[in-house]
């Protein structure tokens, strides 16, 4: 499909300069991806520690491990760190940065300096937010509902919000870079419908980022201004409207869910195709569904306000629109399933993650449609049912995709393979631990346990204990890759250019790729996932 040649041995993006400066001032999208991976891992570990503290407190019904205020800060910081510093940037900033230019046959992204700036902004934002945490934290919940956050909260609300505001720019820069690159820098012959689904996923995500992030940035700026200057935008004591804040907040934050999940769906499509050696069933539908979900995702925010006192009819409209988003999501699941049929299914670690993703996403999606059923949501709104639902979607969906993607492209990024046994074991632990942690929470929620509770009625203990036990297993599963992947950098088997026998431009360059990605500019002559051609070539 393309003309290419392997890089000369010993010359790739990793070996092209070893000084700290060559990393910190790099404009190479691949190095920036690695820098992001390091920063994001730090935040993931931090967010995970907060989560573990929360689960530990909930082991017993009485709030006996820490003060209520401390607990409130823990779940707030868990949410803030995980959502804004892990889930939203993870796949785009790490895998997207690394792969988008390679998959479209370009030498780099459209704006390499802006790309580097986005990493710095991310870290500056992170340091500001960590400073707020170190000084005592915030207790508003990641949703910052007013007037609690503007008037009553005792914590570093403004400082945290400043951090998130800056972080928004980092997101916008990444989105901008992807959109322009995908439009302008595709290799000759790489038409829209020859693009890998990973690129479609990132394209849809970037649209959401560009349209939504400014709204949250303004909302947070207004919040900070209100808290500092008492303007009276959101606080009814000053003549403002607290529900206005919720509308503005969810107008971004529901679509943000799709920022987390669409790139992950892209990753899953790549993995399933590669590990069945087949074209994705219904490629066009999967591509369009990404765009449809991105657009529809902007029309459903009101399902977070079903019990806020909004009008009955607004509730009904948001209910039906939210439920409709479920349909393209369901069809994507069916498409992946159908791709397995008569495939050549390999049982490597990335595939285990991808199949795990389908399971968790299915449960998360079905419970999402249940929540959108307005008469039912009244009872479970703001209970552990919702907590379970969004973890199945965001954590089960986005993190399975992220880990699957890391395992899939690790040999490309580092030139090394990781140990099979340990990676499969960790994928298994993640799946089992995850379900043990979050499945009981659906039942807890239906029993009526409200979210953000530091103590709870005695009869709810058994399910909470199960959940904490699951979280422990999950923690072990998540921690393991940290060790064996690092180990693989020295001890892993050397990977060849296409260790999985997969189809795609990234597998046609060396592992790791040279700084300019390809030694000869690629020209694309075939469709996506053209395994028939690969098979012919291999004979």
């Amino acid at each position: 499909m393309t003309t290419h040649a392997a890089a000369a041995p010993g010359s790739n993006y990793l070996t092209n300069g070893f000084s700290l400066k060559s990393w910190l001032l790099t404009k190479d999208h691949k190095r920036i991806a690695i820098l992001y991976m390091i920063s994001i891992t730090v935040f993931f570990v931090l967010g995970g520690l907060f989560a573990f503290v929360v689960r530990l407190e909930l082991l017993t019904p009485a709030g006996d491990l820490m003060e209520a205020d401390t607990y409130n800060r823990m779940f707030t910081m868990h949410g803030v760190v995980m959502i804004f510093f892990f889930l939203i940037p993870s796949i785009p900033a790490v895998l997207g940065n690394f792969l988008v230019p390679i998959m479209i046959g370009a030498k780099d992204l459209a704006f390499p300096k802006i790309n580097l700036a986005s990493w710095y902004l991310y870290n500056i934002a992170g340091v500001i937010t960590l400073a707020a945490i170190a000084m005592g934290g915030v207790d508003t919940g990641w949703t910052f509902y007013t007037p609690f956050s503007t008037t009553y909260a005792n914590g570093y609300v403004v400082l945290t919000v400043v951090g998130l505001f800056i972080n928004g720019f980092s997101s916008i820069f990444t989105g901008l870079n992807f959109i322009v690159s995908i439009h302008r820098m595709r290799a000759p012959g790489l038409t829209w419908f020859r693009l890998p689904l990973f690129i479609w996923g990132h394209y849809a995500t970037s649209l959401v980022i560009m349209l939504g992030t400014p709204v949250i940035a303004i909302t947070l700026a207004l919040l900070a201004a209100e808290r500092a200057l008492h303007l009276g935008i959101f606080d009814p004591a000053l003549g403002g409207d607290p529900i206005l804040f919720q509308h503005l907040f969810w107008f971004y934050s529901h679509p943000a869910v799709y920022i987390m999940i669409l790139p992950s769906m892209g990753v899953i499509s790549e993995i399933i195709s590669a590990f069945t050696r087949k074209k994705i069933f219904g490629y066009h539908f999967v591509a369009f569904a990404s765009i449809a979900i991105a657009i529809l995702g902007f029309l459903v925010w009101g399902h977070h306000l079903f019990v806020s006192g909004q009008s009955i009819y607004a509730g009904l409209v948001f209910s039906v629109l939210s439920m409709l988003v479920g349909v393209p999501s369901a069809v994507k699941v069916f498409n992946w399933m159908a791709t397995l049929y008569q495939g050549s299914i390999s049982r490597q670690t990335p595939m285990l993650y991808a199949l795990g993703f389908i399971g968790l996403f299915t449960i998360g999606g079905l419970t999402g449609v249940m929540l959108a059923t307005i008469g039912l949501d009244v009872h479970v709104h703001d209970t552990y049912f919702v907590v379970a639902h969004f973890h199945y979607i965001m954590v089960g969906g986005a993190i399975m995709g992220y880990l699957g993607g890391i395992h899939f492209w690790w040999p490309k990024m580092t030139g090394r393979l990781y140990p099979n046994f340990w990676s499969k074991l960790s994928a298994g632990l993640v799946f089992v631990g995850f379900n043990l942690t979050f499945f009981p929470q659906f039942i807890l929620g239906y029993l009526g346990m409200p979210r953000r509770y530091w103590s709870y009625p005695d009869e709810m203990q058994v399910l909470n204990v199960l959940s904490t036990a699951g979280a422990t297993i999950l923690g072990v599963g998540y921690a393991m890759p940290l060790f064996y992947l690092l180990w693989s950098l020295k001890g892993g088997r050397v990977a060849d250019d296409n260790p999985w026998g997969a189809y795609g431009l990234e597998w046609e360059t060396s592992s790791p790729p040279p700084t300019e990605n390809f030694l000869h500019d690629p020209v694309v002559t075939g469709g996506p996932y053209d395994y028939a051609e690969l098979e012919r070539k291999r004979g």
């Binding site: 209520a68 050696r277 409709l324 399933m337 299915t362």
Partner: protein, 350 residues
């Protein structure tokens, strides 16, 4: 798996939930079964093995499996909407209770005047409507056994209704995060048989009813110096009035100076007491002082309840309309001292 079911909706919500669980289980199991089956059957045996690359027609399958979920979804939506209508529309004869949320307690008042904190006693078999507001942040009134929940907002009224079916004691939770003691903002709802409820009322220290305390406050704050509530004996009184008459106001449409029209509901009356300059009734001067800071949320409830109780024809005038209100303006201006004084009445001045 299921919490206690103790209200008229509980059964309905549970059935909806149960059917959803069945549908979800069906699809999850189906998908899982296919995946596991394919995973076993089409396992890659040799490194160089490829999937079957035959071109397949995907469209018919895709249409089928889009349309089936679509139909199921729309059907479930319709059902959910019906349940929601039932939940949202109180019967007209519901008993009116009031609730005030405050960091971190629930204050209740019965129609008979009894007040309670964190506990709420209600009779079984009677529709109960709670009108709720908050003194500080957003809270949410949640009784899992009744399957009802509604946010409680500062600066607004929301309502929730239920009818308990089983005597018993049930959890009352605050479901909207509201700060340090959020998880302690809990209480109990006691559903009592009608006889038990009567005897419970008898032992309670019944204060004045809301309406009565409202009337008292109306005098105490001298609202009547501007607003007529009399039985309409004299037209002249209205002519001299400095503010609109309040009898018969509740539930009517009010034309505002801004040209908008609003319904005189609880929130409007509350707003008129706390922030009178926000919505000026057409034809009247913005002279009413704010009572913010002078009345508590509960006192506002009492005043609202009192004004609600004033039914009948507006004071004095058969079909008091725009003309008469405009007629009131000259009298009003005579009665008003100076513009400076008006300025002083603005809530944001000083």
């Amino acid at each position: 798996m299921f919490p206690e079911a103790a209200s008229t909706f509980a059964g309905e919500v549970d059935t909806l939930y149960f059917v959803w669980i069945a549908v979800s289980l069906f699809f999850s199991v189906l998908i899982a079964a296919f995946i596991i089956f394919f995973f076993m059957k089409y396992r890659r045996r040799e490194w160089y093995q490829y999937g079957n690359q035959a071109e397949v027609k995907t469209l018919p399958l895709e249409i089928t499996w889009s349309v089936i979920p679509l139909i199921i979804t729309l059907a479930m939506f319709a059902w959910g909407a019906k349940v929601f209508f039932d939940l949202s529309r109180p019967p007209v004869d519901a008993d009116a209770y009031y609730a005030v949320g405050k960091q971190w307690m629930w204050k209740f008042q019965h129609p008979e005047g009894v007040r309670e904190i964190n506990d709420l006693h209600v009779p079984v078999g009677r529709p109960i409507q709670l009108t709720m507001t908050s003194e500080d942040v957003i809270h949410s009134f949640y009784v899992p056994a009744f399957r009802v929940k509604k946010d409680v907002l500062p600066g607004r009224y929301t309502t929730v209704w239920f009818e308990a079916t089983q005597p018993g004691r049930y959890h009352l939770f605050c479901a909207e995060y509201c700060g340090t003691e959020h998880s302690r903002m809990i209480g109990s709802v006691y559903a009592l048989s009608p006889e038990d409820y009567e005897s419970w009322l008898a032992t309670g220290v019944a204060g004045p009813t809301l309406q009565a305390s409202g009337e008292e406050l109306f005098e105490q704050f001298a609202c009547a110096t501007c607003h007529q509530v009399g039985d309409g004996a004299s037209v002249d009184a209205t002519r001299l009035a400095r503010g609109p008459a309040l009898r018969g106001l509740f539930g009517t449409e009010v034309a505002l100076a801004s040209g908008r029209t609003v319904t005189a509901d609880e929130s409007y009356i509350r707003q008129s007491i706390l922030n009178p300059q926000a919505d000026i009734v057409a034809g009247w001067q913005p002279i009413m002082p704010t009572f913010k800071g002078q009345v508590t949320a509960e006192q506002v409830n009492a005043l609202v309840d009192f004004i609600k109780s004033l039914d009948g024809e507006p004071a004095g005038v058969p079909g008091l309309g725009e003309d008469l209100r405009e007629g009131a303006v000259p009298a009003l201006q005579a009665a008003t001292d100076s513009v400076d004084e008006l300025e002083g009445n603005r809530p944001d001045a000083g």
